[in-house]
Symmetry: C2
């Protein structure tokens, strides 16, 4: 770009075009920022033929997770432009040599996600080198590598600038989640898969699937096959196979699926299949606490879930329980008296009994914070409390010795359109938690995409780029995080443009959640 040619043009245009041209080429445009990065000043080149080498790796890749991940990386790099130039003989990068130490590719909470990525500056037979404990660390290394690749428009090949690179990386928190809600609006499989793809770009690792709520029951549960009669329509349903497909699709991208079945509130839709679960047809929630059948059905659902969802945790909800229908329905009111319970006792009773059922299926339990706020001392010590109402809960939870996931709605609810990316970025899960043993009890955090106004048409731009801002908070060491979000605005704008280039409908940064581009301009300035 010739400055001289543009002299005399409005300064805004000059600055604008230059900003665009310079940022991509020279910036350290990685998102989320790795724990440790150093780099040099040489350039490497590659075309379409990057090779994968795995000598000295203990991991056999029988299931193809590494090989598929490598192919996907190549596809993602090459999706935006046709790559058909010739690589110069000097400075050619031939491929990636991946060494994985663990034989095991089970994915679960706590799976090692660390990796090292070394890109040499040159050599006769130049390979980048990746070292990871598990294949999932190697997948993160692939993602980081992909973000270093820059298309050269003149030569039509890819380049890696600023070699040699030495990146040593791993997550700050083991739980980095995103909630989707398939009850308020059904989300078709391709949409969920695309959300999972994007999560892998940001190194998020838990898809919290809020499957069922009062509005619809979209999933097949063979133990109680009438439950999905509560689906919105014939076609707005998931078979067991569909759910397994989602779990597998996520797994090979290093993402766990946390299933939620929210009890005893948020369960109106259960009764379309089994009306006796309703206290009364005109008072359908919470689930009828007086019926053994309610617990039998929950047991059946969790038995079905256990065959699909292999994550260590299941989420049992427990939030927003309005017990009015229990006290106003004669047979339940009678049952309460017989059992010397008031409605609040019955709420405790239901949640604790649900926990026991989940524990009997070898799940550890996550519950929304109301359970802790109301009867925290009675909860199973294996409970993880999921904060959502506000700040300050995590410190009480960990002080009590329980574990916690942070999702305070004022900052990390994606359906709050006035929650800005700056707020997502700055929300610190360890706020006011200083003791190392208590800090360890904060498993991480989660951004929540509730579905009341979100369906297949608008979910991507409501999630991204704000969820990416939180993803860096959850991944990068606290010392690497910006103390003022303005410091990362340009890098996040670059990452949102990268998402766009990969076909993800990430919204402009500047505006409220799901903002449209306000006027014509470069992606980088919106």
């Amino acid at each position: 770009m010739s400055l001289r040619e543009m002299s005399g043009i409005g300064a805004a245009v000059v600055a604008g075009v230059l900003v665009g041209f310079s940022l991509i080429v020279d910036g350290l445009n990685l998102w989320p920022m790795p724990a440790s990065v150093s780099y040099g000043s040489r350039t490497l080149y590659f075309s379409k033929d990057l090779q994968l080498r795995t000598e000295e790796s203990n991991y056999s890749d029988v299931s193809g997770i590494l090989k598929d991940g490598f192919s996907r990386m190549i596809d993602v790099i090459q999706t935006t432009h046709v790559v058909d130039g010739n690589v110069p003989s000097s400075g050619a990068l031939h491929g990636l040599h991946v060494r994985i130490f663990s034989l095991d590719d089970e994915l679960n909470f706590g799976t090692d996600e660390t990796y090292k990525l070394f890109i040499p500056e040159s050599g006769d037979d130049t390979y980048a080198y990746i070292e990871a404990q598990t294949v999932y660390g190697a997948l993160h290394a692939f993602e980081t590598f992909s973000q270093l690749c820059i298309f050269n428009f003149d030569t039509r090949i890819y380049e890696i600038h600023s070699a040699p690179w030495k990146i040593v990386d791993g997550p700050r928190f083991p739980y980095r989640g995103l909630l989707i809600d398939t009850s308020r609006h059904f989300l078709p499989l391709p949409i969920i898969k695309k959300v999972i793809d994007s999560m892998s770009f940001t190194k998020l690792n838990v898809l919290h699937w809020h499957i069922v709520d009062r509005e619809s029951f979209p999933i097949q549960t063979p133990s109680y096959p009438n439950l999905w009669k509560g689906a919105y329509s014939y076609s707005e349903r998931y078979t067991v196979d569909d759910a397994q497909e989602i779990v597998q699709y996520a797994k090979i991208r290093g993402i766990n699926v946390l299933a939620e079945i929210d009890v005893p509130g948020h369960a109106h839709s259960w009764g379309f299949g089994y009306p006796s679960l309703w206290p009364a047809v005109d008072c359908p929630e919470p689930l009828d606490v007086s019926k053994e059948f309610a617990f039998q059905v929950l047991d059946g659902i969790l038995s079905d879930f256990k065959k699909i969802f292999k994550f260590k945790f299941v989420h049992l909800g427990g939030d927003e329980v309005n017990t009015t229908c229990w006290t106003t329905t004669p047979h339940i009111s009678k049952w309460l008296k017989e059992h010397h319970m008031n409605a609040s006792d019955a709420y405790t009773y239901f949640v604790l009994r649900a926990q026991k059922i989940a524990l009997s299926h070898d799940y550890e339990v996550i519950n929304w914070e109301e359970t802790f706020n109301n009867f925290g001392e009675k909860l199973s010590r294996k409970t993880v409390i999921h904060n959502w109402l506000g700040r300050g809960v995590a410190e009480k939870v960990v002080a009590s010795g329980l574990r916690c996931i942070v999702s305070n709605q004022d900052k990390w609810y994606l359906d709050h359109l006035d929650a800005t990316w700056e707020g997502f970025y700055m929300n610190e899960p360890l706020e006011n938690i200083t003791k190392p043993e208590q800090q360890k009890l904060v498993l991480g955090g989660e951004v929540c995409m509730w579905g009341e106004t979100v369906d297949a048409s608008d979910i991507e731009q409501t999630i991204w780029p704000r969820a990416a801002a939180a993803a860096e908070r959850l991944w990068s060491p606290i010392g690497k995080l910006a103390t003022n979000p303005n410091q990362v605005a340009t890098r996040l704008a670059h990452f949102r443009c990268l998402l766009n280039q990969r076909g993800v409908a990430a919204a402009p940064l500047f505006g409220l959640g799901r903002a449209i581009p306000p006027h014509q301009d470069s992606c980088m300035r919106q």
Copy 2:
């Protein structure tokens, strides 16, 4: 779904759930509606193993267009659910037998798109039968077939209800377009490809690529290699190879790409590479009419385009030309006087000379309607006038003997968010044109997705489902079109849900353009 089980539940819920369940199974849910359809009452079944047979076909499919189209159809059908059930021995559909008469698979304006699709009710070795003049007709038949396939959630296989089917189909208009604008916002390749995918679902057949405008010049033009210095940024550009990739991607889906280079207005961005094209740096539009260089550059661009864009037409714009910079810039004002022209004459001169250059490259020319409105009698008789300002233009154009494409902005501009799908559906290109020989001069119509507030994050839901409403107007025989849009609302809602199931972010019907779902509910009711 048991009605009895739901007795006593609110009527809205009962009606709602039932609407959802019944519509999908029993309706004639094809979009756009074929010219002729008859069907029966038998059911056929198939799983993952549909076969393609091509005996008696003259077409050799050397380029794989048919085979790839068949694979894509299978993928699209199976994208929403895992298909793993067993097909009953009776009623099994084994595949599709396609017979194509033409050897040729060149795609251009006027390529035969008709097809016949017969699905028998049963037989020992049951194949659906497709007959088409060209492979592109066969692709339309695949799309129609895919819309007849219904997933059975109990058996986990696909079914075709209401066999035997006999469908004889072809388009009402040969030109059925959608405009995208990559100047106001850059659209990455994967986004453009997804728009093309969706166009094929609605049988639209022309992607009008408004490549360049005043804001940015994102495409490589080897003849004048500095032009893309007018791009927004380093990465917001298309190489020649990228453009060829788009053309090829569209072609194998039966979609032509119409390239537009809008002159002499809307050309500010040209001057970032060649400032002498500007009348003055502080008065940069229209292109400097006094310079031979302006016409040399246009000639170079069209020479480059001819290698990429094989469509019979090129679009030369010609709209919204404000000639103030010509009269206020001394050297142009002087040139006008020397050539005995006023500014209006110079506008005519520029457009006619641009037309001649395009004709010399064997393109026929499309111009926006201002050229016709101002000096229609002087235009090349090979000109197609592209209406946009309002209604009533087409009848004047065809009365003058020129051809016309209809895009009146009040109804068919997708960036007009208050233009409803009902308006898109009801906009009739032949309004007030009754003579058959004049009707033939209306090549068709086009919906326009101008890019001021549209980028990768919101283009899909701004285009769909409204463009689909216009697509039926342009495809189906007038006698098959609804006289009241309410008659097709349910079918269009079903089609928008189908788009969602295929991963397309089509917005709810009920609301303005790009509306979000206003509250939790079934896709079918939004």
